[in-house]
C-alpha cells in the first residue's frame, strides 16, 4: 500500500527543502519514494540532483527515489481532459475564462496538486509519496480544494444561473437571474456576459467526473500523514496555528509540527570567554536573544496545541547535495517515525 505524507506550512519556511530531505532519507531507508515538489529553488533542484518535470522520473543515482514537480497550468489542462468531452475540452482550455477562472479560483493550484498526488497514490508504484503543498493558506487549501472544485462546477449559483438542466449549447438563464444579468450587461457589456455563460455551461458538463474524483481525492487526503513545517517567525506560526484549527475537519491530526531553522538552546544565557572581541560578545548576545525568542515561541505553541514538536537546526548554508539533505533529517530532534 502506498502511504501519503503531506507536508504543509507557510511560504518561506523551508517546506520544499524539508520534503526533499525526507524523501532522500526515506529512499535510503529502503522505501520506494516519490517526492512531488512545488516550484523548488534552483539550488534545491541542484542539490537533489534530478531534473524535475511534471512526470515522476527515477533518480539516476538513488535507486529508490523518484521526483516530480507540480505544474499547475499543465495539471489543469489534464483535469479538463479527464472530465470533459474532447470537443468541450478544446473549447474550455482555449477559453480566456478558463485561464482566468483557473488562475483566480483560490484553490486552483491546490486542486491540481491534490489531483496529481491522488493519481500517484492510485498508481501503487511507490511505498511513500511525499507531497510538498502549494503555500496558499498554509496548505489547508490542499485538503479542501477537491470539495471546493466540485462546488465550483456544480454549485448552486451556477445551477441557478444556468437552469437545472444543461440545454446543450443553448444558453438559457433562469428567470430569477434576469435582474442580475441586466445589471451585469450594463456594467460588463453584453458580449462579455455571453462568453462567460458559454464557459460556465461547458464547465458544468465536467461536474459528474469532478465530483466523483473529488470524493476519491478526499478519501486519500483523510488517510494521509500530515506534517506542518514552520519557523519561529510570528507570521509563519500564525499560518501553522490556522492550519491546526482547520485541520480536524479535513485531514488526520498532524504527526508533528516541525520547527525549522532552530538555534541551539545552549546559546541562551551562554557567557562569552573573557577578553573576547567586543563584536563577538555582542553577536552572541543578539543570537542568544533570538534563541530565547524561538524557544518561547515553541513552548507557547506546545502548550496551546498538544502535538509532537520536532526541531531542525538552523543550517549555516542551504543543503547543496543529497548528503546534506539526508544529514538535515538526521540532525532533526523529536521527529516521529513517518514511514
Amino acid at each position: 500500500m502506498t502511504r501519503a505524507l503531506v507536508v504543509t506550512g507557510a511560504g518561506g519556511v523551508g517546506k520544499t527543502t524539508v520534503s526533499a530531505a525526507l524523501a532522500v532519507a526515506a529512499s535510503r531507508a529502503g522505501l520506494r519514494t516519490l517526492v512531488v515538489t512545488v516550484d523548488p529553488a534552483q539550488r534545491l533542484a541542484t542539490a537533489l540532483g534530478i531534473e524535475l518535470t511534471n512526470e515522476p522520473s527515477p533518480h539516476p543515482e538513488e535507486p529508490q527515489l523518484w521526483a516530480a514537480m507540480l505544474d499547475a497550468t499543465a495539471s489543469w489542462r489534464e483535469v479538463a481532459r479527464r472530465h470533459a468531452d474532447p470537443e468541450v475540452t478544446d473549447r474550455l482550455v482555449d477559453n480566456e475564462f478558463f485561464v482566468a477562472a483557473t488562475s483566480h479560483f483560490p484553490a486552483s493550484q491546490s486542486y491540481a496538486a491534490a489531483e496529481q498526488a491522488a493519481t500517484y497514490l492510485d498508481a501503487r508504484a511507490w511505498d511513500l509519496v511525499i507531497v510538498d503543498t502549494p503555500p496558499a493558506s498554509g496548505g489547508i487549501d490542499f485538503f479542501t480544494a477537491p470539495g471546493q472544485m466540485a462546488d465550483l462546477v456544480g454549485g448552486r449559483l451556477l445551477r441557478w444561473l444556468t437552469g437545472a438542466r444543461i440545454p446543450g449549447r443553448r444558453f438559457l438563464f433562469n428567470r430569477t437571474a434576469k435582474p442580475v444579468l441586466r445589471l451585469a450587461d450594463q456594467v460588463l457589456g453584453a458580449n462579455l456576459l455571453e462568453r462567460i455563460a458559454e464557459f460556465l455551461m461547458d464547465l458544468r458538463t465536467t461536474y459528474d467526473g469532478v465530483a466523483k474524483r473529488a470524493r476519491q481525492i478526499e478519501r486519500h487526503m483523510k488517510s494521509a500523514t500530515t506534517l506542518v513545517v514552520t519557523t519561529s517567525e510570528p507570521a509563519a506560526m500564525r499560518e501553522a496555528v490556522r492550519f491546526f484549527r482547520a485541520l480536524p475537519a479535513v485531514a488526520s491530526a498532524p504527526a508533528a509540527v516541525v520547527f525549522n531553522r532552530v538555534l541551539p538552546e545552549e546559546w541562551i544565557g551562554a557567557e562569552a570567554p573573557a577578553m573576547s572581541h567586543n563584536n563577538l560578545v555582542e553577536n552572541l548576545e543578539r543570537w542568544a536573544a533570538e534563541a530565547f525568542r524561538q524557544r518561547s515561541a515553541r513552548r507557547e505553541f506546545g502548550e496551546r496545541y498538544p502535538t509532537a514538536i520536532a526541531t531542525i537546526p538552523w543550517q549555516a548554508h542551504p543543503p547543496t547535495d543529497r548528503q546534506a539533505l539526508a544529514a538535515m533529517v538526521e540532525s532533526a530532534d523529536g521527529l516521529p517515525d513517518l514511514w
Partner: protein
Amino acid sequence: MTRLVLVSGKGGVGKSAVAAAYAFAAKRTGSRVLAVDMINAGSLGPHLGEPELSFTPRPVGDGLEALTIDRADALIEYLRVQIGVPALATIGPAARAFDALASTAPAVREVVTMGKVLWEVKKGTWDVVVADAPPTGQIGSFLRSPRSVRQLVATGRILDQVEWMDAILTDPALAQLVLVTLLEELPVVETTETQGWVLEEALVGDVTIVANRVLPALGTAVPEDDGPMVEAARLHQSLWSEQQEWATRLEIDLRLPYLFGTHTPPEVAERLADVLEEEP
C-alpha cells in the same frame, strides 16, 4: 494630491510589517495616512496595533486610519459610487450573484479591489495611502487589471473607470511600488522578475526595492575555536556572506535591519519606520 505606496513581495518576507512601517513613517511627518489591507490577508492589522480591521476606515492612532478590503463590500461600493448602480440592486442575493459572475471574468475582481484603493487616492482625503498589496505572485493581475478590462470589455460602464485608474498607477509622482525581499534565492529571483515585467509593461510609476532582515557585518574574524560564542559567530558569518552574495543580484534602494530578539508586531513596524524616516 495623494501619494500611493503599494507594498508587495514574496510570501514570508515581512511585507505587512514594511507596509505598516511606511504608514508609521508617513504619519510621523504629519501626513494624513490611510493604511489598506488589500486582500484582507489579516497581517497588516497586528503591525498597526489594531488586529481587527474593517471595510470602513478606523483610526489607529493620530493621523492614521486603516481599512481592510472585503471583496463583497468593495464590489457593492464600487457599483454604487463609481458605476452609479442604485443601492437597491447592490444588496443581498443580487449582489452575491453578480459577485460570482464578475469574479469569473478576468480582471473584474482585481479592478474592483484596485478601484477601491485608487478611489481612496483620488478622493483627496489623505496625503498618503499605503497598501499592503497582494504578494508578487498575484500583484501582476491587480496592476494590469485596468488594461485587461479595457481589452476585454467593448462596452459597459466599467470601461469609463479604468482610464483614470491607470493614469494614477503610472504617474511616478503619485504611485510607487515597493518590492520587499529577503536576501535569499527565491525572494531575490522573484523580485528581479517582478521588477522586470513591471518596468517593461510600465505598470507603475516608480519601483523601489527594499531588502528586509539584513544582517550587520560581524566586523571581526571568526576565531578557530568552539563554544556558543564562536558557533554564533560562524552562523552569523555564513548567513551574512550568503546575504551579500544575493545582494549583488539586485539594485537595492533601501536596507532594513534584522531585528534580533522579541518584539511585538507594532514594535517591529515602529523600528522599521525609524529607519525609513532617516532615508531621504
